[in-house]
Structures are given as C-alpha cells and as structure tokens.
Symmetry: D2
C-alpha cells in the first residue's frame, strides 16, 4: 500500500499518517518523490482496506498494490534528468528523444578518455560512459584506474560537455566518487548487492541499474525498489543480456524484457547491446531492434581503436559506427513516434503480479 500526499501536505499530515499506520500495527517508510511525499507500508497489509487511510488529511490517494515493488510500479521518475558540471543536460525516459551513452569499457588513461569523449560527442552521443572501478572475473586482470580514472572521466566530461556515467562497486567508494560522476552505475554483478543499492538510494544523483547475469525481470524491479525506497527515485533500468546455453554470444539480449518493463514501471529502460552480444558486428542491428521495441536509449561501448581496448576489445565499436547508431535511433524514434501519435494506442500497463 502506498499513501501519496498532496504537494501542499504539511509535515504534520505525514506524521499523523505514520502514527495512524503504527496504531494499526503497520510499519512504513517515507519517501520523498520528485513532486510530493509518499509513504510505503512495508508490513503485509493485504487485509487492510485502503479507504481506512484515504480520508487522512493531505492524502491524495491510496494505492493498494499486490506488486512486490510498488514504488517501481507507481512512484519512480518516468523522466530522469541528468545534469553535469560541463553544462550538458539530458532528459531520459517517457516522451524524450532516445539517449545514446557511449564510451570505452575502461578508462585507460587521461589522454584516451579525453580523446574518446570528443569523438563520442562528435558522433552524436549525449553522455560518456567508462569504467574506473572494474568488476573483473579474474583477480589478475586489469582492475581499472580507480578514483584517478574517475577524475580523468570528469575532466573528459567537462571538456566535451557531456554527463559522466561510471560504475561503483564498493559502498566505501561512493562518497569519494560522487563529485566526479553524474550517474552511478550498478553493474550486472552487483544487482543483488543490496547494501550498495541502499546506499545509492541515499544519493541525490541518478542510478543506472543493470539487470543481473541471470536475474528475472521481477528481481530487477525489486532491486530498483531497494534504491527507490531509500529515497532516490531517479533509477534507470538497463537490459544487458542474460546467461543462456547459446555460445555464439556472450549473453542473450532479452528485448522482451524491455517491453515488459515498460508495461510494469514508469522508470526509463536502456539497452546495452555491447555486453549482451560481446561482438561488435551485432551491435548496430540490435540497437535498432532495441529502439524499435521501445527502449528509451542505448549504452554502447565505443573506442577509438576498438581492437586495442584493454578490456572487452571484441565488443567495442568505432566512432563511425556509433554515429550510424545514433542516427538510426533518432530516425526510428521519429518515425515510430509519429506513427504512435496518430493512433490511440492501448495502454499496455499491467498489474505486477
């Protein structure tokens, strides 16, 4: 159950509601949304009639949800705004142009990331990605440049006027990393790292949450819920392929997840075709497919000299291909957007069961 308060509701109203819930044996959590406050009842409350609370002062509506992730279903931001020190700003989500985030797998050096940022920007990408803290399967592989890498990214972002997206893995790094990035990325391997999610839920910058290696759609939504209920409503979901038996690809891109997520939540959904396939030859065609089925954007690995990438060389694309992908996305979004606006599309929103 979610109690949604009017914008004008006083702090007192909210406190009264919390007290009233407590009298009924219900625990709850207050979450500050973009526009208003909501209370999520965290105790089981199936039997409790919603109207019991709808007449409380300041309460705009009471949503009784069976969803295991009510905030993801109802209260997350449908448009996530990403700012940057360099002045670049993006709006990602419902009704927006598709966003392409691009950059190398790893920050390899100050020069590399600055040059790449320039090329990526010229190719039409709107934000810069790059790994400074790298989760590597093998302890002897390159583990990233760490905080130094992140500082190089910040510099590259500022120089090119693009916001910076980078992964954090360790809760202890968040505070130090925060000034140098514009979006916190949670990698696939950390989707179940609930302490990390909670901590990012306390941050004010958006979080890009990747689907775990073999996470279900519902587990992804519940991972998002950890961030949302901790107070950060700016969550971007990302489909990046799931683990299957097929060996011709690194992972199997699951575009049905995009369609299903868009029907279950307002949160923006990105697609990462690079990690999904692991081979650059497949990236462009699958980027087209992702935008065609409704993804709000792409996150793509791009490198000035793809074959020389320190990590994930096989999947990085060059700036020329990136440019094609950006143009493809804009074209498809334009053509399909026009077509959809001419129709009264059935609402695909379905209850999370």
């Amino acid at each position: 159950m979610i109690l949604s308060f009017r914008k004008s509701a006083s702090r007192e109203c909210v406190e009264t509601a919390v007290r009233r819930l407590a009298e009924n044996g219900l625990n709850c959590q207050i979450v500050a949304g973009a526009d208003n406050l909501v209370i999520v009842v965290t105790s089981p409350c199936e039997a409790m009639p919603g109207h019991f609370f709808s007449h409380l002062e300041g309460v705009e509506k009471v949503v009784k949800l069976t969803a295991r992730s009510p905030l993801a279903a109802e209260s997350g931001c449908s448009v996530v705004k990403i700012g940057s020190a360099g002045g670049g700003r993006i709006a990602l989500g419902e009704g927006q142009e598709p966003v392409v985030i691009a950059g190398p797998c790893s920050v390899e050096s100050r020069e590399q990331i600055i040059a790449t940022a320039g090329a990526v920007k010229t190719a039409g990408a709107q934000a810069l990605r790059g790994g400074a803290f790298k989760p590597r399967t093998n302890p002897y592989d390159f583990q990233g440049l760490g905080l130094d890498g992140l500082k190089f990214m910040a510099e590259a972002g500022q120089a090119s006027g693009m916001p910076v997206v980078s992964e954090v893995m360790d809760v202890r790094d968040i505070e130090a990393a925060e000034p140098y990035l514009d979006v916190f990325q949670v990698g696939a391997r950390n989707m179940y790292n609930y302490d990390l999610l909670k901590e990012l839920g306390r941050q004010t910058k958006p979080v890009l949450l990747k689907r775990g290696l073999s996470a279900t759609i519902d587990e992804l939504l519940q991972a998002a819920e950890y961030i949302l209920v901790s107070g950060n409503l700016q969550v971007i979901l990302c489909e990046r392929g799931i683990r299957t038996y097929e060996t011709r690809v690194r992972n199997t891109l699951d575009l049905s997840a995009v369609v299903i997520l868009k029907s279950l939540t307002a949160l923006p959904v990105l697609v990462d075709p690079s990690h999904a396939t692991g081979k650059r030859a497949y990236v462009r065609a699958l980027s087209r497919a992702a935008i065609a089925c409704g993804a709000d954007g792409l996150i793509v690995e791009a490198h000035l000299e793809p074959e020389r990438s320190i990590s994930d060389a096989a999947q990085a694309i060059d700036p020329a291909t990136l440019k094609e992908i950006v143009e493809d996305a804009a074209l498809l979004s334009d053509v399909l957007g026009k077509r959809d606006r001419q129709q009264s599309l059935p609402d695909l929103k379905m209850p999370v069961s």
Copy 2:
C-alpha cells in the same frame, strides 16, 4: 568442400567429379540447387586442397568451408518463392518486402479458418498459417483436426488467395498432406527429428524450420543442412524464442539469433513473436524489433476472437492488431531499407566456425 557446377555443365561432368572424389577416398552427395548442381563432400576433407578439383570440367568454383553446415552457408536459396493454388505468390528473403504469415494456432473448423483467412488477408497478411496436426505436450489435449483440418486450410487459402503454411509431424503424413499446403512447417519440438527433415528434403515445396526449444544457432543451421543436403534448397529459418529461467514469458525471444543467422547464411529468417512471448500484449513491440534488426518477415498467431482460441488463447492477436503489425513492418522496412541503400554497409558475412 562444395563443388559448384556451371549451369551448362553436363551430367557427365558431374559423374566424372564424383568418380574423381571417390578415387581420393571421398564420399559425396549431389544436390540440385535452384540454378545449378552442387556436390557436397561428406567425408572429412580438411587436408585436401580445393584446387585439386577446381579444374574439372564444368566446375565453376570449389568452396572449402570449415562450416558444419556448408549448404546453409553457401547454397541455400536467399529468396524462397511460395506459390499457391489460389494464385497467391510470395517471395521471401533478401531484398524482398517483409512477409507476414498469420492465422490461428489450430484449425478449429471449416468456417473458422475460412473466416479467419479473410480477415487476415484484409489485415494485410500475405500467407495463412494454422495447425492441423498439433504437437501437444499433453496427450489429452486437443490434437488437431488432422488431414481434414488441412483440407479446410487449403480451401481457406484458395478462397482468400493466400498460400498455406502448416505443420507436419509424422513422416507418414507428408504424402497425404502435400497437396493441401504450400509450405511444410517443422515445429520447434521436431527440429531434431532428422528423419522428418530428410523426408522434407525430398519434397519440392519450401520448408519453414523452427528453432528447437533450446537449440543453438549452429544446431538450427545443421538441422537446415539435413533438408538442404537431401535436395530441397528452399528452407526458411524461424526464431521463436528459447527456453530460459525467466517466467514472465513463455520463451525468451532471441533476436541476436536473427542477426547472427543473417550473417551466417543466405536463407530467409522469420520471427515468431507469438510463441516467443506467449502473451499478446508483447507481440506488436517485438514484431517491430524483429523487422528492425533484419528479419525477413513474421509469423504471428491471429484469431477472430483471441480469447476463444482452442489452444494458445493468451498469445493470439485480433485482426486490428495484425493490421498495425503489417503496417509497422512495411514502414520499418521502407525507412531502414532506404537508409541502408544510401550507405555502403560493411558485409556482415562471417565464416561459420
């Protein structure tokens, strides 16, 4: 190794080549292609230099392939032509308009299939699908109307002027079924039924081969090879979702398979978004994605009253939605086709390893 003969090559040339291969300890099979004859060497022949045979009379070229499915890689039809008694004709594959094949999961009655065919045709579909012989997981479920159902389909196809696509499961049914259908469908459950594939390889009508429930891309190509090497080069491949751990869909649609198949073989590739997802709400968006990433067409379950389908009711769409899908496909194909023709696209063809 494949020896490809000139159109003008005499029967004698071919016989000489077979003899010469035999002298070198190599078995082979003669396959009559659309335009010419080819010989597939079926013995291991990695060590044998190709030029050894390239000077034989009538031989146009010798292809040394490491592929496990050389005919699928090199000799299958890139455009499959489907004729019909009712006069409808389709060309499916490279450079053609996307084809939408639609119809009910099962033929339920003569009236139903005739009415559906009309509606499906009006909605813009180019061919009629419908199951007469039904492979059902449970022996107590409706097993289809059998040959009678197929006769109703033939009638419906003729009335609406559309070719008819239907599944055969038992080698003993092929002969009786042949007059009533225009494309033999092999269902996902029978992709590994090699005796069925061989028998269909001896037919003159095209075969639509669905990917097995958890078949790899290479297994699908090798299943196609069974048909091709038996002499039937008109094979249409079909991605229909694979089995994964995700429970929100019936199967996980693997669109990377479309992209990879198009890079490995000239054979046309269809997508079946209905069986892939099992839910009608997801069919349209994934149909868009399929066409956007290069599928040559779609095969979709459509029903006049979807909720009343005898089988697979949850996934059938109504004619109005079908019309949207047909239009989406045409629009995407047109827009992306124009864009691709303006560019000199890199050749994505890669060796099958």
Copy 3:
C-alpha cells in the same frame, strides 16, 4: 479421472462404463495394464464427482487426479521386466537390484559389438546398449549402421545372454527393428516426437524414454503418458542431463529430477551419467550419486578402447571402470537398502500439480 477395474471384471462391465461416461459427455480411452484394465477419462472432468462411477459393476476404484499425466502417476509398471532371446532376464524398478546397462555409443561392426558385449557382461552389466540408428546433429557425421547394426547387436546380446537396448528414431523402422531388440530407446532429441511415442505405445516390448535436452520433469512425464495411454505400461524413464550455461560439462546432470520422479510416479528411473557429463573422468562419481539418491539403475557408455570410439569418444569408459561402477552400485544399494528397511520411511509420494 481413472476408473480401475477388478481383474475379474468382464468386457461387458468395461463397455457399460464407457457408455455411461459418454452419456455424461466424457471421452475416454481403455488401457490394458499388467493386471487389469483401466479407463482414462480424456475429457476435462474436474467438476464430475468420482463416486458417480465408483458403483459401476467391476470398477474397483476411481482415482480423481489433477495430474496432467494420470497413468504415469498411478498405473505405469513399477517393475519393468525385460526378456531376451538369449535367455537373459532383468527386472528393473522398485525393490529390485540396481541394473547397469552398458555398451558403446554406436555399433561400429559385428566384431566390435560382440567383443564389447562379452567384456561388458564380464564387468557385471546386465544389459547391452548400442546405437544402430544414430540421431546426429550434423548430417555429415556417421549415421549408424542401421538395421544391420541392430542385427549385430541382437547376435551380441544372444551370445552374451544379455537383453539389448537400442534407439529407434523413425516410426517406419519400428516394425523391422522390433525382432532384434528387447527395449526400444527414445533418445533425448525425440522425447517430443509424439507420433513415435504413440507408435511405441502400441508395442509389447518396454520403452526406455530419455528426458529431452531441456525438457521439464512434467514434460517428461507427459511424454511417458503418450506411451502409456497407447497401451504400453512398461516405460522406463531416464535422466541424462539438461542444457545449461555451464561449459565444463556437455549437460548438467539433474539428480533432483530422479528424486522428484520417484515421488511422482511408480515408473523406474535410470540415470545416464555418460551423456550428462560428456567426460569419462566424471562418470563413476556421478554413478555413485545416482544410486545413492534412489535411481533404479544406470545406462553407461563403455568401449573396449574408449579413445577409439567412432562417436562420443570422450565419454566412454573402459570395462575395468565399468566393473567398479557395477560394484559401487551393488554396494550402495545394499547398504542404503538395509538402512531404509530398518526405518519406517515417510512416504514421499506427492500429488502431481
């Protein structure tokens, strides 16, 4: 719903019951069990009270099952008896010693199979396996010796006094193959080949049914049901590994399936550790595990010179290892059997839902 008739029930009683069911709009099928006749109601009949038919003459009991495979749950043979021309006889199933079936992947020649049969018998195996009709992923791989191979097997079985287990793939081969084998094997690739299953259901010899490459436990039981409802109650189930993402094994052996199958059906359950792992080094340890968790026996690939096997060389074991496996199985069965008899074990039988 199943109506089970007394041994003494006359044909007339059964006909009356069928008529009575028909009057209530219910279709049914008569199946001749080992000891008595049963009628399976094949129409949906959840709403029909069972006692409605329990007073009919000759009816011993009426079982109302929600199971999708009622015969597998209730009426299949719990002990399958395998005879052979050579005089060897095996009883496989509940309360019996564990049975080890062994032999080469493929029959390679008359000499090979006869020599192997002797070695396998000496090592302690009770039945001979060997492939004559081989379902190969690739059309250019060795496809088996066919009927000739089967005749060699029959000879080897007779010479060694062991029953013969071999695969049939094509319904058209059943009649010709029948005299030369004692158990029809259905390979993993054909578990969904329902026409083959139906035809084997009309045979009088037992059927060894392997789980499909990625078949669920319930699909396996329903495949068995196709055989059972066609009249053959002698079905042996076989777990042989399922397809997963793990690459260190060919398939992932699913021993929980053994435990679950034993709780859902009386049918005997074998384990094939050779195909499950694809590597001989793992076969012995997993054979121990299989027997320890309740499998009724093993089917193992053994070869006189494992590295020289024409097919599946990596997984075949030599006769010395086979002897250890046979002894392991006997030891474990003895020790655990004694322990279980000292206890009053809880009945693990659960309803198939």
Copy 4:
C-alpha cells in the same frame, strides 16, 4: 606462475625474488600460506621459462599454470580447520569425516537460536548456521536481526559447543561481526562482490563461498582466487544449485560441479541441498547423493518447527530428519572410504584450462 618458498626461506629471499620478477617486468603478490610463503605472478608470463626463477635462494618449486585461478588449483588449504569460542573444533576437507552444518535460515530470536543449536547438536551436526544479515530479494521482507542476531548465534554456539557460520554482505560489517562468528559465509548473491571477497581475504577466519545463482565453475574458482590472493587460504566452496528453466525446484543442484571442483582444486567442497531444491522432501536423498560423489560435507537448513520459519519455510527440515542425514553421511563416507582405500584410484586431478 607461482613461486613456492621453503618454510625456512628468509624474508630476504622473498624480497630478492620480487625484485628479480620486477626486473623482468612482472608484477606479483606475496601470499602467506599455512606452511610457507608463495609468490603469485600477476602479470601475463606464459612466455617466461619457469626455470629462470627456480634457482633463486629459498624457492622450493615454480609452478607454471595456465589456470586462471592458480592458488585455488595449487595453494589453498585442503583441510580447513574451524575453531570456536565454545571449544568445538572441526576439520573439513580431504581425508576428514563429512561435516554437517545445520541451523535455521534466519536467526529469529535469542531463544530460537539457542534451542535450535541444542537440537541440531543432538542430531549430530558439527556446526551451526543461521542468517543475521539476510540478503532478501524484496526490500520489504524481513532483513534479519543484524549484529544482535549474530550475538545470539555466538551465544548459541558457545552454549552448544559448536562453531558458528554466518553470512556477511557489507564490507563495513566485517569488523563488527568478526568476534561473533567462526566462518564468514559469502552468499550466492555476493559471489561476484569482489570488494567483499578481497576484504574477507584479509581476515584470519575461514570463508565459506557459495556458488553464484548462475556462476560457472570457473567463475566460482576465480572468486575463491580473490580471497586466496588477498592472503586467506582457508576457503570452503559450496554448490547450492544453479538457475535453470525447471520449475519444480528452486534451483537445479549440480552435483557434477562437486566432482569437477574436487578434480580442479584441493579446497573443500560442501553441498547445500536446502537452497538447491527449496523443498524439504528432497533434501535427504540429495544429501546422500552429495556425499556419495565426494562432497566434504553438507550445509542444511533445519528448524524446530519448519513450517513456522520466518524465511524459507518450505525447505527447512526438522531435527529428526537432520539426524538421519548425519547418519547417512557417516555411513556412506565410511563404506565408500573403505572401498576407495582398497583400490589405487586413478588421480582425477586435471589441469584447469
């Protein structure tokens, strides 16, 4: 490459070796093993001949490994010793009796865990498990009692004389938790949480590392390597089921992983049949299978009133069943151990490729 030093080697010898490696452009890491020091060369060094370093003073042997996890392959403890404040001591691994670790999914209260510890001890278990920090898929589910729960566990362990095994999820909790537990558990969801693994590698108490939800065997070994290379050689691996398409179990227990792990590493391997199946009816039979194929022990969820467990109620067993499992394990280990000692078993150790 690993340089293994003699026990008597001086600090100077080690420093000389590090310098010599550096002169050759190789980075390395010093790891203090149970008996001696080893140096792991962390730079690629395939081309460097091992004998180049084998004559350095103090170096006992140089192991050139292609394994991605050389310490797991060569240097981890084959027997992990677990002590406890209450005086209980266990030796887990090669040549030891099978160890059964049991207890509730979650610590629910002081009374519950103390009573359970007593019952579990009486049933024959050697160590106590119980979750205080709980990684829950849903943020609104019971998240465990935290540090308080751990203190109750410590008390229960001391009272019953058993070591305590409990999960930590957050690097920031390690220091506070350390005094209250005897083995750090890493749950399946955190197997890829490399910062957590590194931190636990700096601890002096053993680590029980569970296989990730869909981790490959090689990923599990590389996760262990993160702990080992950080200096903690006492790692216990645990197979707990992997994610597949099968829906009758929570996860599919992969016993082939046990056999393969035992062939690739000296580290002890446990099996968790409770999380693997999710249903108590299957736990006992699969425990037998686990011990039969060579697992060094079991970790099982047990509860005084299984149906009343706050979490994972469906899989907990009662103390009576636990007693049977403990006795099964001892019996199987005894019988198979005797049999193995009578034979000269082939060494199953294979190179990690």
